[in-house]
Symmetry: D3
Subunit: 229 residues, 6 copies
Amino acid sequence: MTEGFVLLLGGHVFKGITNGDFTLIERMAKVVRDLSKDRKLAIVTGGSDTARRYIEAVGSLGGSKFLQDQAGILATRLHALVMIAALGKSAFPRVIEDYDEAALAFQLGKIPVSGGMQPGQSTDAVAALMAERLGLGLLVKMTGVDGVYDKDPTRYQDARKIEELSYDDLERILRDKLYHPGRYELLDALSIKILKRSSISTIILSGDEPEALLDLVSGKRTGSLVKPR
Amino acid sequence: MTEGFVLLLGGHVFKGITNGDFTLIERMAKVVRDLSKDRKLAIVTGGSDTARRYIEAVGSLGGSKFLQDQAGILATRLHALVMIAALGKSAFPRVIEDYDEAALAFQLGKIPVSGGMQPGQSTDAVAALMAERLGLGLLVKMTGVDGVYDKDPTRYQDARKIEELSYDDLERILRDKLYHPGRYELLDALSIKILKRSSISTIILSGDEPEALLDLVSGKRTGSLVKPR
Amino acid sequence: MTEGFVLLLGGHVFKGITNGDFTLIERMAKVVRDLSKDRKLAIVTGGSDTARRYIEAVGSLGGSKFLQDQAGILATRLHALVMIAALGKSAFPRVIEDYDEAALAFQLGKIPVSGGMQPGQSTDAVAALMAERLGLGLLVKMTGVDGVYDKDPTRYQDARKIEELSYDDLERILRDKLYHPGRYELLDALSIKILKRSSISTIILSGDEPEALLDLVSGKRTGSLVKPR
Amino acid sequence: MTEGFVLLLGGHVFKGITNGDFTLIERMAKVVRDLSKDRKLAIVTGGSDTARRYIEAVGSLGGSKFLQDQAGILATRLHALVMIAALGKSAFPRVIEDYDEAALAFQLGKIPVSGGMQPGQSTDAVAALMAERLGLGLLVKMTGVDGVYDKDPTRYQDARKIEELSYDDLERILRDKLYHPGRYELLDALSIKILKRSSISTIILSGDEPEALLDLVSGKRTGSLVKPR
Amino acid sequence: MTEGFVLLLGGHVFKGITNGDFTLIERMAKVVRDLSKDRKLAIVTGGSDTARRYIEAVGSLGGSKFLQDQAGILATRLHALVMIAALGKSAFPRVIEDYDEAALAFQLGKIPVSGGMQPGQSTDAVAALMAERLGLGLLVKMTGVDGVYDKDPTRYQDARKIEELSYDDLERILRDKLYHPGRYELLDALSIKILKRSSISTIILSGDEPEALLDLVSGKRTGSLVKPR
Amino acid sequence: MTEGFVLLLGGHVFKGITNGDFTLIERMAKVVRDLSKDRKLAIVTGGSDTARRYIEAVGSLGGSKFLQDQAGILATRLHALVMIAALGKSAFPRVIEDYDEAALAFQLGKIPVSGGMQPGQSTDAVAALMAERLGLGLLVKMTGVDGVYDKDPTRYQDARKIEELSYDDLERILRDKLYHPGRYELLDALSIKILKRSSISTIILSGDEPEALLDLVSGKRTGSLVKPR
């Protein structure tokens, strides 16, 4: 697989920052730098505990959901900055705040790295729009789960990972609330709408194993693949 | 005292965010809202543990001091957003990223709230430039210490608080390393240079007692006063 | 009703531009100017035939859905400019391209007028986010239909208008495809999510009768009211 | 002829958008993509019926000439977006809104595409300034007429096309009102002033025959050539 | 005369900066502050020797006319900054770089001050567009001449000042080269075109007598008045 | 020496502009163009008499130190524009106003040229931050002195140039006021702090001899070298 993709890194990947352990980020950056030699990559970073704490603070002090989203966006941009540092010269040298700027980064042969963009949009939606803007046919989301299961794997021992499914399947799983809802589910509704309208596939992988990305590009099936149809 | 001032809130004021305790921020916001009815106020927010952790992450992963400063700035802007939420309609509705925008906020009768602005500048320097830009003659810094001492109060039991001193005195105290250096001292060198050139006084107060600000404006001496001459 | 609201003007209101008939726009502007004396108003303008033709051109010539959305946004901004002209001194003097700028317009006592904002978001979603950002509890959408019906009124003679319903009801109606889908339904999924999370009500009114807005604010029930619960 | 040029596409080229016929635009894009392999090209797009209708709406509703120009600019940017879609990867990926950004596009080896820029300037003037900024010695204007005539060819059967003339000749023709004035003449006064001061030649060609551009670069004389002296 | 106007201050007003004599600027600022209490004013500042020297440097070193204009613009902005300093709280607190921002300044009750805006436009044209954007019916240009003469007063002793004339008259005088051409004539062609299209009158006054502005608003005829018709 | 560096050109280099002598600038540009073929270069331009006169005007008319700094920045940007003209295609095509933009210029293989950036920062500090941002280990300052002396060479005949020293040495020399203070000393305090924290060396060279830069890169010792330790 030599085509490019958008890599969405959930907050899970950045959880070591709290206690000064940057190993996972370093491993991820190494894999990304290697892969970027042969293909176009763009990165979107999610939030984590930091995002959650500041969102809670803004909300508790009377800030609107809009302001809470703005806090979440600032927090995800901290992660984007961390990835830019880790990627060194491979990255476009500032946090992307605008999709056209990501296209500019591509024309320079650099990896655009963004966090959130706008209130009302999760980083799922940002990653989907980024893929659409850059003409990439694949989104790889690496986060705390290693694929889509037929029921919530954190609650049911007999949950089975689904190797391949359609967005319609995924929407049905989410609608039937087979998952206990956290802040955002596997992929949120807006992102699915965009991925469908532009026929972009998604692969859900565990963020704990950056090296699984190498398997993926060498053709090995891993995680779950969600296809437009 | 009815004249306006720049209020620099050290990370100390925001330390409750980590464990979900927003009381101190609420008290501070209440005092600021009250004071802003009679006088012009501008707020600059510092960083805290969040800033330190992300700065460390960026540095450990190979990011330059410049990128580290950028991480610090993003983190202080999270605090600015928290203050905007807490101040409600009294605040200018977005984080100030440019001194001219702060002047615009003033013309609208709103409180400008900023975090850091530029790599190479501490929030001390931002607060000093803000006062200069807005034509305010006073900076009030509220942080983890309640004044300037003749030696480091965290190490010497007999340290005595100095009620009033000049910037030259302060520079001598800092140069003679009477304080154990943290990331930034009471006021950093660049901020002192700006405060001196524009004859702006500084009051150092404890960030644990927002209500001390009320004493201050009613004329009661509290904390330490640093005067241009 | 003296509280403010966001007024979403569907392309229907601007359909006269093609043949040089500006009467409906003039009537709408007069009503808005009057209402704005007593309450805060913000306006979002939708697209019409112009939007559709340029979206089709961009798509046919190989442009992505993202570029197509950008064309739609430019076209809605033409309508925003037309409304700014019609509102004269009551309007903020440029097309709003950013929610914070809308908050600034409010602080100046001026009506912010925007079209679309970002690819991936309909003007429904823009209007919902605008209400959230500005702290307004009501969205009034004026377009080609005069309310929510229990089935598609353009196809069924016995369709009955629903005076009051919940967002959950509305989502069920849309999900069951009781309406023949056009580009956007009564309200799209993202806008409903935002309106629900911030407890903002919506009133659907006919765009052919600007004066119905006057009835509305004087307490007369008209159109359909969608409530958070 | 291998040197680069600015290509000014009059609204005439985009007239098919109204009825869904994109053939002419496709042909033009194909020629431009081919030519851009060997030379630097920049594109400026004019307005058409859409521009005229919105300008009329803004004016009739009380908008100033300045606002009318702003509407015209938005409409020309729709055409710029259409050309960007049609040019695909050959184009700089956003509508140019600033001459320096056009220079940046050139440094990236991409075709900058702009519509209008500022009230008070026609797209003629934009194209002239673009050529000046980019250091290009030639402007090619393709629009509804196929050259400069000694009198208005739409009114006089015996009008003769002038193969080559100076800007002074052109100014005389325009001043003597040998043409029935439309909104803009062949080239407006400001553009001529700029083309003269920087010694940039202009060729006027019919927009109906994109392929004439190929003739032109292979040295065949076509249309009319206006020379600095 | 209580209506507002745009005041265009030629470089002549700033000629004292070279030798440290700021008296004329102070007098001008005093008059402007007084007049701004009762009416809307906007200021545009021209260039002077500084502008000319840097334009020459850029040109001699191989810079295009476009870059030369950019140098001229920077130099006029230095004068804008000087006027902002002299006007104090009456002025909008940053140099206006965009006409919409000038409209915002007006809504705040502050005087917008700009220098040049865009290459290809003299400050005459900027002042004309500013008047058009702000809906002001009068431009007052104060510079090195005290009115329009029937021939060049610097060369002919018997030149007579014309108290009132039309833009058509002015264009004829300029076209017939009754004046020895400097960089810009009394008003340049683009500015006249804009002033005519929006029916804005112009008064030409001597920049040496700021107090003549007071006479003017109290109804006394002074300088030359150019009327749309 | 093939590594890149930041070249800080003091106002001294631009002193010929006042009397129309551009020879020194031309020589400097030629050297820079040559050197830029083999290494990364960035340029920061200082102010001169023009800066000083406008700073004085702004201050005398009541402008704050902040506004005075803004005037200084505009004046240094005039010099940046002059250098961009002189460097032609080797330079990034607009004056750099933001450090990230300088990094973008580098990725395009172009020389970024900036003047001042922010009030409160000398161009010394800008040059130091530029080096830090771009990952360059050397700053070369070319100005009116040809090195660091053990005492002020303009006052003491027996002053001796120091070939190599540390920043600590330099700080001691400046603190002991061995130099008669002008507006800025050899390097100001903020710039030294940044150069130290990122281990960037500085070479002080005479601005009168651009060709000394060629000696420098060919390994010849010239001027004074200030080392982090």
